[in-house]
Symmetry: C2
Subunit: 425 residues, 2 copies
């Protein structure tokens, strides 16, 4: 029997049981954090060797660059070679950046605002208004960035195969104030969706009214598969070349969840013309990024095959954690008929949709009980989930035991909040 | 007898001698680079150990932060403690950035343009015009940055004790479009000048018309002394606190010429209020900079005393190079009465002023002979030296033998260009 079939009496009893259970958990004084997509310490241990003997007495790149000294704005070749296949781009289509792809995205928008991108009639900050399409639920930091820049966000629904392309096509072709769209095309944050071939092709075929419209393709989880058969994402840059719109896309990625978050290397991919244009602009910002860290990564992983092998080690650590989350939901929430959630084949999140109007309450109940979740609504522009039902669960950081405890709390909170909502109806 | 006392006949003979000499050098096929302030490989060897065993099995900061993972936007405490005394700032007055102080400066201006600084009536990009004071000769990358942002540069003469403060005071108090000034206050690039106490005090007493005017205090060479008795620079932030104008200054520095250029750590210093304001703005750009590199630096140098000890090793390598340059000029150019040059007590440059209208010619003659110098005029806004006489000499990168050869060429080029100019008068 689902919770929706309960009599009022059954519902009240059920509610009271959950209140007692939550009080018991509260008494335990838990302190668990499932708020961010943060790798666990044992994942970081996998690349510890990179920090020690990796550079023993050898700081010279294959092409003779002393990586300890100034220069080489776009990065050393072996670092490019490592990340080119990861992002599906060629040798003249890549710039290796600093330690953060988020920073590369911010800097790319900041440059567009102040200087414009290739083909901009004027810098975006000189436009009356700049608008952005935001497939939602999406990545909270993407949306926060738009908000900081004063860019008006337009929510686009996320379907099972990617953003609602009817809406995307219509909006970009009609409104020249729309300058960009956020995409996390593989194992999306937080929905876990990988864009279908058709969606990618429709992106490559967009006919934006703004001549300087850009797709921000944040391929953060491109090699972060949880299963032997990875979901396949079509190569956006290649598709765009076929339609002659190769300047329409900026691709981002990093090793933050491959080596070290904050101690990895990031990259931007784009058409050769975009890359040249950006390099010129970037030359005023920096003489170059940290090439020693680039060399460290190239030496440690050796090549893209080595990097992919390494990802299997991450998988063996985090897959059981995803299973703990999904098992708990399947066992405790599914029989009650409450909500829906993703069953991701990769990435860092499980996206949970409770009943309408319960997400904030669930997150608050968890917080009171010592379990920190991402703020409810965070996955929507301006932090506002119109239905107040989406919660992002990040299973990777806690230990398996901690995660089990946290999911116990979470499931009770879901039950309590749902019963409460039904009683108040 | 100086060259100015030569008869026309003597001058012609002298000129022809230099032409022959330069042809001889040219035949040698030299390839020498004195264009940038780049440390020599043997300077970089001094910190090689930082790249290997420094982090052996220990990635946890004093305060328990796992430096391999996300977080701590403003940097780990031991990195702050290392750089606080270097920049003369307190624990709440510092943010540790990435690998480049230039990037911190760029980002600071970019944020000011797009979002404004604390106290800005509006973002600078919304102003009709933004102007900047540029003490010159100065650092070419500072000026290039202004040019890239479309900021109008106003040249301010450099005196022996710092910028012409009468002019600075007058301009900033009268023109609210002036939002900033570039300063390299110690061993300035390229003049080697350290600002006098009076100049620093006058900076702290500025009464700018723009409420959001900022002094950009690029203390790039703060610990880069060439002699036992370093020149002393007054603490600008402390002076500004005395006048209640502590929000008026942004201080920048890095270990680029202490550890590795491009592989070091950079910092920004400012009032506590400015730092809080900036941290909030920066939180949209990045989750945090590379804390592993911060930890590496803190562990290697241990403390500021350790860092200062380390600087003595750099000094022992580069001081002889400065002597080669100065000896060559003293022996070969001074007796002829040509030009003037700096005798810096620290920093990375010798600033050479030839006769009016000869700098471009000297740089071109050197280039033809295989000796690359910084572009003539580079030390002035828009790359235009009004008198075409200033040349920046960067002695650190070449070996002593290379430098001797390069200075031979340089001195002959100076003689040739000067004689040529006199003959053409």
């Amino acid at each position: 029997m689902t919770i929706f079939e309960y009599s009022r009496q059954q519902l009240e009893k059920f509610y009271n049981e959950q209140v007692s259970l939550l009080a018991e958990y509260k008494a335990k004084g838990l302190k668990l954090d499932m708020s961010r997509g943060k790798p666990a310490p044992e994942q970081l241990d996998l690349t510890n060797e990179m920090l020690t003997h990796c550079l023993d007495g050898d700081h010279i790149s294959e092409r003779g660059v002393d990586c300890r000294n100034y220069g080489v704005l776009d990065g050393i070749f072996e670092a490019k070679r490592l990340l080119m296949p990861m992002l599906g781009i060629g040798r003249y289509e890549i710039i290796i950046g600093g330690n953060s792809s988020l920073q590369l995205m911010y800097d790319t928008i900041a440059r567009a605002m102040l200087l414009g991108v290739k083909g901009s009639p004027k810098p975006w900050c000189k436009c009356d208004r700049v608008k952005w399409l935001c497939p939602s639920p999406g990545y909270d930091r993407h949306f926060a960035m738009c908000e900081a820049f004063g860019i008006e966000m337009i929510t686009v629904p996320m379907n099972a195969d990617g953003p609602d392309m009817d809406m995307v096509e219509k909006l970009v072709s009609e409104d020249e104030e729309i300058k960009g769209i956020w995409c996390v095309p593989k194992y999306a944050n937080p929905t876990g969706v990988t864009y279908s071939d058709e969606v990618v092709k429709r992106f490559a075929n967009l006919k934006p009214k703004a001549p300087d419209f850009r797709i921000f393709w944040d391929n953060a989880y491109c090699v972060h598969d949880l299963y032997d058969e990875p979901e396949n994402l079509l190569n956006i840059l290649e598709e765009c070349k076929k339609t002659g719109k190769q300047d329409m896309v900026f691709i981002f990625g990093s090793t933050s969840k491959i080596s070290f978050p904050g101690g990895g290397i990031a990259a931007i991919g784009a058409s050769e013309e975009n890359i040249s244009f950006m390099k010129e602009q970037m030359s005023y910002q920096t003489i170059g990024y940290d090439k020693l860290n680039q060399l460290r990564h190239a030496k440690f992983f050796k090549d893209f095959d080595g990097l992919m092998e390494h990802m299997k080690k991450h998988r063996s650590i985090i897959k059981p954690k995803f299973e703990i989350v999904l098992n708990a939901l399947d066992e405790q929430i599914k029989p009650l008929g409450i909500g829906k959630w993703s069953n991701p084949k990769g990435g860092y999140f499980v996206s949970f949709n409770g009943e309408e109007g319960t997400a904030k309450r669930i997150v608050a109940l968890c917080a009171e009980t010592g379990v920190v979740l991402t703020k409810a609504g965070a996955a929507f522009p301006y932090g506002k989930d119109p239905e107040d039902k989406n919660i992002r669960i990040a299973p990777t950081y806690p230990t398996c035991d901690e995660l089990k405890a946290a999911m116990e709390v979470f499931c009770v909170a879901v039950k309590l909040a749902t019963a409460e909502a039904l009683l108040n109806k």
